[in-house]
């Protein structure tokens, strides 16, 4: 990455899209678009003369080398080891609603399990008429469903409970992704196994070195859960649970057990470590909420944002963002330029799907004055995304999970953007 030598580029903008290109653009104001004049009109650029690589030289494609900064990143101080840690989706570089497989955030408790599908088994037992053990190939013989859903870690934005801390929506909101899953309806398998009348809960368990286990109520299991083996058309990536994972639409990511190996039907919840010591929301009175599964409606402006500053100066400006709700579809999104005092309806573009990311835009003529940019979603249940102050009033600041408060980006006159709190 070239040196940030423009006064308009602070070291804070290190992750700006194609920062090398951007910096040289700004360093050479005489050029209309920056870059190398030898490759620009009226000259014939080198790639228009010499032959490029042939087919299958890149048998599995990857993004242009000029997009190499569009990657998952982690926050090293967050955790003790990288095997039990999290990486973040670069939301500020993405558009639409689908997350590319290689950019879906990761959360592992015992590292990525590299599983030979020939050896993987899914076992269903407990309070069922017919216990089952299945190979991946057998699972693929069951009727398939395709569903697009977001998956959000309950701790997404958890570092921001006490105030603005991280500069970049990759870090404040990047524990989310949205892909199309293909797999088998969990209901289909439970019917095949025949759940007994006293079967009220499922224990779902992974095959990695953490063998994470969680309790799932039977109502949700029979409603819309999927055992998925494909994401965005191809096999699950190992870091997303290859060869199979659970999909629990609208509910916190921790329930979406990866490397799924076992489903046990029981009559009570198990109160595993993940649903007692973790994923319980501590309130100011010392009590903690448990079984807070669903993810409340939330939104964030992905650009401009700290890693995606405005580089063009004043003029026509596109605000792009994401909205979602674990309780259904997005109904509307509003955008504020003055920290929540006044709001304007955003334009939603692309599909509005149940429990999926929804893309919104707000286009306006920026006069170059500083902005306090916010977005606010309302879902189809009528739930309106609260301000951080409203949320803290009820939950305090020690909940860790389910921080869905309205995010504020301070856009400065020079186009730089900072994560701030307002009151």
């Amino acid at each position: 990455m070239s040196k940030m030598d423009s006064p308009r580029q602070s070291r804070r903008n290190f992750l700006a899209a194609g920062a090398g290109v951007a910096a040289s653009v700004l360093a050479k104001p005489a050029l209309a678009g920056g870059g190398n004049p030898a490759n620009q009109p009226p000259n014939v650029p080198e790639w228009s003369k010499a032959l490029g690589e042939g087919v299958a030289v890149r048998p599995y494609g990857k993004p242009s080398k000029f997009e190499k900064d569009v990657v998952r990143r982690d926050v090293e101080w967050l955790t003790a080891s990288r095997e039990s840690s999290v990486s973040f989706t670069p939301l500020h570089e993405l558009e639409g609603i689908i997350t590319p497989n290689g950019l879906c955030f990761e959360r592992h408790h015992g590292g990525i399990a590299e599983i030979d599908p020939a050896d993987h088994r899914l076992m269903i037992h407990g309070l069922v008429e017919r216990p089952l053990i299945l190979t991946l190939e057998e699972l693929k013989r069951y009727p398939r469903v395709n569903r697009i859903h977001f998956m959000e870690c309950a701790a997404n934005s958890g570092m921001e409970w006490r105030g603005a801390q991280l500069n970049g929506c990759q870090f404040t909101h990047g524990m989310i992704h949205c892909v199309q899953y293909t797999g088998v309806s969990l209901r289909t398998l439970l019917e095949e196994a025949g759940v007994k009348t006293n079967g009220k809960w499922l224990l779902v368990e992974g095959a990695d070195a953490a063998a994470m286990d969680r309790s799932l109520p039977i109502e949700k299991a029979l409603d819309d859960c999927i055992i998925a083996y494909k994401m965005n058309g191809e096999a699950l990536y190992p870091e997303q649970g290859y060869p199979m994972r659970l999909v629990v639409p609208g509910w916190q990511g921790n329930l979406w057990v990866k490397w799924l190996r076992r489903i046990k039907v029981g009559d009570q919840p198990w109160h595993t470590r993940e649903e007692t010591s973790k994923y319980t929301d501590l309130l100011p009175n010392g009590k903690a909420r448990r079984f807070t599964w669903s993810m409340d409606a939330k939104s964030v402006i992905t650009s401009p944002s700290p890693q995606a500053p405005i580089k063009h100066g004043k003029g026509f400006t596109i605000v792009s963002g994401l909205a979602w709700s674990g309780n259904g579809k997005v109904k509307r999104v509003d955008v504020s330029l003055d920290g929540g005092r006044n709001w304007w309806p955003a334009r939603i573009d692309g599909p509005v799907l149940d429990k999926a990311l929804t893309r919104f835009y707000y286009e306006f003529d920026w006069n170059g004055e500083p902005l306090l940019l916010q977005s606010r979603v309302q879902d189809e249940t009528g739930y309106v995304q609260p301000s951080k102050a409203e949320l803290r009033k009820i939950r305090g600041v020690n909940s860790i999970y389910h921080n869905n408060g309205i995010q504020t980006w301070h856009v400065q006159a020079n186009g730089e953007v900072e994560n701030v709190e307002v009151a």
């Binding site: 804070r12 990143r73 926050v75 101080w77 967050l78 039990s84 408790h109 015992g110 076992m123 037992h125 017919r130 216990p131 053990i133 013989r141 570092m159 603005a164 801390q165 500069n167 870090f171 289909t188 019917e191 095949e192 009348t197 070195a209 953490a210 063998a211 994470m212 286990d213 076992r262 029981g266 198990w270 109160h271 595993t272 470590r273 007692t276 010591s277 501590l282 009175n285 010392g286 009590k287 903690a288 448990r290 079984f291 807070t292 409340d296 509003d334 929540g340 006044n342 304007w344 306090l372 009528g382 309106v384 409203e390 860790i400 301070h410 900072e418 994560n419 701030v420 307002v422 009151a423």
Partner: protein, 235 residues
């Protein structure tokens, strides 16, 4: 679950019909028979041995506890050899590794310390978790007796067990009560956060003009920044 009103034998017949339909070129018949719960006869029943190998979960009521026993003293040795590097000799935690003991009375403070003793509602959770995932990097490698011993020691570190000679077993396990068992409430967002559901969200002059009150730049912990990292942390 939508359960068929048909008798078991009728269900069986329906299942058999579905199986025939699957073998036939058309699947139309299966689609009309959803209420009976179509069966596909794909996969097999696991053997008792296969289930036994993976069936390692434990519930608060003791369901799933394997036969075995281990003492606090035995657990202490195992803990020192296998766990203390990360968790500290007294469960105080090293670096960012989890703190296992202490933290009593901290849940209403500005810095709640959530440990087995201060936070976890059930002792079964310790057994379930430790046997699933510990020792870190060599999971499920201890014997059942060793897991009992380790759990006994962790409970001892938390003053839940006070006798150093105590031997924890599947027979006495459910007598263990944890201090914070009553510290949990069910998800009550629909009631306590009712005000978040609104018909028409405010659009104009909703609040007084705002000012910036805090900045992420002042905290300065965003990755790839060269300055010293001060963190507020999150688990």
């Amino acid at each position: 679950m939508v359960r068929s009103r048909m008798s078991k034998s009728l269900k069986f017949i329906a299942g058999a019909l579905v199986a025939c339909a699957l073998a036939a070129p058309s699947l139309a018949q299966q689609k009309t028979d959803v209420k009976a719960g179509p069966r596909y006869h794909i996969g097999r029943a696991p053997t008792a041995d296969e289930i036994r190998g993976w069936d390692i979960d434990v519930r608060p009521d003791g369901q799933g506890l394997p036969e075995g026993k281990g003492s606090v003293a035995q657990g202490e040795k195992l803990f020192m050899d296998n766990c203390s590097t990360c968790h500290g000799e007294f469960g105080e935690g090293n670096g960012r590794w989890p703190v296992l003991a202490g933290g009593k009375g901290s849940l209403t403070s500005d810095n709640p310390v959530k440990t087995v003793g201060s936070y976890w509602p059930y002792a079964s959770t310790v057994f379930d978790y430790v046997r699933h995932a510990m020792p870190y990097g060599n999971a499920e490698s201890f014997s059942v007796d060793e897991y009992y011993a380790l759990v006994a020691y962790v409970l001892y570190l938390n003053d839940v067990i006070t006798d150093q000679n105590f031997e924890l077993s599947n027979k006495n396990f459910t007598t263990i009560k944890m201090p914070n068992e009553q510290g949990f409430v069910m998800d009550d967002r629909a009631a306590t956060e009712k005000s978040f559901w609104q018909k028409d969200p405010c659009m104009k002059d909703c609040i007084a003009p705002v000012k910036i009150t805090a900045r992420a730049a002042a905290i300065d912990v965003t990755p790839e920044d060269s300055k010293d990292k001060k963190s507020r942390g999150v688990e």
